[in-house]
Each structure stands twice: as C-alpha cells, then as structure tokens.
Amino acid sequence: MKAPEPRARSAPFDAVVVGAGPAGASAALCMAQRGASVLLLERGATAGSKSMFGGMLPYCPAAERLVPGFWDEAPWERHVVRRSLSLIGEGTSTTMSFEADSFDSPPYAGVTVFRPLFDRWLAEQACKAGATLLTGVVARELLKDQADRVVGVVVDGPQGQIRAPVVIACDGVLSFLAEQAGLRRAFNTSQMALGVKALFHVGEREINRRFDLVRRQGTTWEFLGVTEGVRGGGFLYTQLETVSAGLVLHLDSLQSRGLAPYEILERFLARPLVAGLLRGARLVEYSAHLLPEGGVQMVPRLSRAGLMIAGDAAALCYTNGLIQEGMNLAMTSGLLAGETALEALGTNDTGGDSLASYDDRLKESFVLRDMATYGRAPEMMRNERLYSVYPTLVGQILQRMYASDGNPRPSVRAIARQELKGQGSLPRLARDLWEGVRAI
C-alpha cells in the first residue's frame, strides 16, 4: 500500500481520529506508520484515563501488525491460563474450570491489562510513529460541508474547527459523533449492559497462592446466579498484584428490577467464594462503563463520506455467555479503518463509496464474521432462566447426587427428571437448551 502523496492541502492533517482508546490509537498508529499526518484527539487528561473494561485482551493478529513484538512490549499484567465459570444456586455452587497447556506459552490466548496504562502506551506508539496526540480536547461535533460530507470536527477550546479529509470516530460506546452522522441508531437499553468493577490490591504472591497460579499466570472467572434476578453475571480477573471483581448487568433488566448496581456488587463481594479470595485485600479503585451488547444487529453502517467509525462506537463488542470480546475487535477495526483511510487518501477520494470498502473489510474479517456466528447469542442471553433457575437446578441435581442419607439412591437420571419437573416444564428446558446450542 502506498503512502499518501504530500498534499497541497487546505487541511493541516490527512486524518483526525477521535478517541485514543484501542480503536483510535490503532487507527492513528497504522496511518502514521505509513507517512500520513494524523491528529489523535482524546477528551481525557491522558489516553486511557476514561477507559474501563472487564479485564482481558484476547490474542489478536492486529496487535502484532501494529507493533512488532507487541506481546513483549505491551504493558500487560498476566497471561490467562484458566477460564472458570461458576453457577451459583441457592446454597450451591458448581464450577467448571478450563485450562490448556498451550495457554501458558506465547502466543498467549489472552492477557489481562489495565486500560489507563495500556491505552496510554498504545497512544505513545502512535506518537512515536509521528501522530500528533492532543489530550484534554472534546470533539463536540462533526464538521460537514454543503454536500453533507464530513470534513472535520469541532472541538472545545482555541482549536475550534479542525479540518481533515478523513475523520475516524472512535469515541466509545456513547459515540455522539456516530449519532450525529446518522450512523448510530438511538440508544436502546435492551442492547446495553452496565459494567461495574472494584479493584483490590491482594499482592502478587497471595494471588498466586489463592488462585493456584505460578509465575505470571492469570485466570478469569465468571459467575452466573449472583445478580439477584437482574440478567447479568459476575467476574473476577487477576492482574499482577490486584484482582478485579465486578458485575455486568443488562441495563433494561436493572431498570425494571429497581436495584442499585453497587448494592448487588457489595453482596457479590460478600459471597463466601469471593470474599475468601479477597480476604484482607485493600480496595483501590471503583469504575463503571456501558458495554454495547446488542450483537451484530446493533452494528450500524460503519462509514459515510469523510467518516468511519470503529470500536465501541460501532458496537463492535460481543459475548456469547462464555467468551467476551471487544478490545481485540476495537484494535482490528481501528487498523482496518486506518488502512482504508490510507488507500482513500492515496487516490484522493475519501467519498462515501471509497470509504465503504471499510465496511467490506470488516465483514470479511473475523470481527463481523464472529459477531455473525454468535448473532443469536444476545436473544438467548435475554432468557431470565439462565441467571436464576438453571444455576439453582444444576446445584440441586448435583447436591442430591453427592449427598447420602441412608436411603436407597435414585439414579442420577431420576433425580434430574424430578428436579426438572419441579422447575416447570421439560419442553421449556429442551427449547432453552436448543436455543443455547443454536446461539453458540
């Protein structure tokens, strides 16, 4: 791909990227590496100071492409060797843990990171490549010409209007810019989840001891049945010296249940399983953020004349109940937006048709293909029974299977049949199972 010609231009920059999160910094880095003049705008005092996520960056090739030696250079905390899921029932807890030997050697399947540190580092890489980072600047509006083409952004402060042939909006889940552009649809609480997280200092050795880890091994741990009737789940992620403990709650469900997220969090932290792992730990920070969880159906058109959107701003984030991806999708989409911008600048055509190739690239990449594969998951995950009835049911069946009371035992199959009857209908379970299997 050739670098854009030095342009006799009215605009001081080839491209303005809004938001120095993983999507924006990736876009800026990609373009700066190939000689484009890029302005990266960040509303926080530093890149990453507004960022928050659950905890794990899954492996993604875009990272290596952007920063050779990425996995040695980037400031990550621990590589994840174990993924656990606990179903918490009434008085029971059932945990499934998965470990793979391959997770313990590079290329790692996933690493935990602190976003304020990681995002700042990635933005620094963009600056080293020649991008200009302006922090503490909010891009309030898109600048459009008479033909309704995006030709720049309007920012607070002395800079005022900043013109550029390409704008890449990576302004996060609330993306007011994508909304103004007519790309993002109106907010819908049924497509959003609220993440709340408490960070605890536990100490490196204690984490290794309590979570049965060695060296810089890490673990992720998800919990179902801990959200008090609100659809959602709990999580624990290990960093080098700290543990993140939090909840993800479907916003429409939270709204109708009338519960406060920090109160559910408090009771989650007090559960014996969690409290034991965090005993004596010092609370360090609290944070909250929204997640786009509407799946592929929530992803809007991703470009128009002069504009592309990437990362959370484009709702590129998904979960199927077992895996949660977002940051890798953000970096990949940022990279693809950057590459599309370079090509468009090279041909001096940043019109709608030219930038629409970004939509195609994302559709061909794992980003939108994975989101399409799990396209049914958001609907499946709106099933209330996943969060209360089934964790309890699993616990009851296992409890009766393991317990001895001196009476002759029924077969496990008979126990399961009896317990299922108690929980309503078998056809409903069969339907839920089928929906679950279809969704993943």
Partner: protein
C-alpha cells in the same frame, strides 16, 4: 460496608460547569426515577422534602446510564470539558 468507601476511591478533576442537566418538571412526574438507583455513582437522589431531583455531577463516572434509563427524557448529558471529570488510574 464497601459501598460507603467505593465512591471515595475515584479520582476526579471537577468541572465547575455541570455536564448534566435535568428538567425538574419531568422528574417530578416521573414514576420510576431509574436514575436514582441505576446510576453506578449514586449521583441522583430524589429529595422528597423539596420535591426535586438532587444530583451531583462531580461524582459522575461518565458511563451514560442515566441518559439511557431516564424514561422521562429529562436528562441532558454531555461529556465534561476536556481533561475534566473522572480520571481512572488503574482499572
């Protein structure tokens, strides 16, 4: 109680100019007032005595929950001035 110290752990640079505005007339007739429980920073509180919604923009975590859960369309919300608002250190 963890909740009592949770909110004290967050760093901010406070913007004197509130980035949240509420339409008190709409709040007064709102049935659910979801902001008063759903906001993860506990920024909103219904003041029964005065019949108004008290809110503290200084404690906002800038997540946008209030904007989405407000059923009365009473919340006007934009990002704080550049460099202001919440400042996460690790998270």
């Amino acid at each position: 109680m963890i909740t009592d110290i949770l909110f004290n752990l967050v760093s901010y640079r406070i913007d004197e100019e509130p980035h949240i505005r509420v339409d008190q007339a709409k709040c007064a007739s709102c049935a659910n007032r979801a902001c008063t429980f759903a906001c993860p920073a506990r920024c909103y509180e219904w003041n029964q005595g005065r019949g108004q919604l008290d809110f503290a923009h200084e404690a906002c975590l800038e997540c946008g929950t209030c904007l989405l859960v407000c059923e009365a369309g009473a919340v006007t919300w934009h990002y704080p001035r550049g460099g202001c608002g919440v400042r996460y250190r690790l998270t």
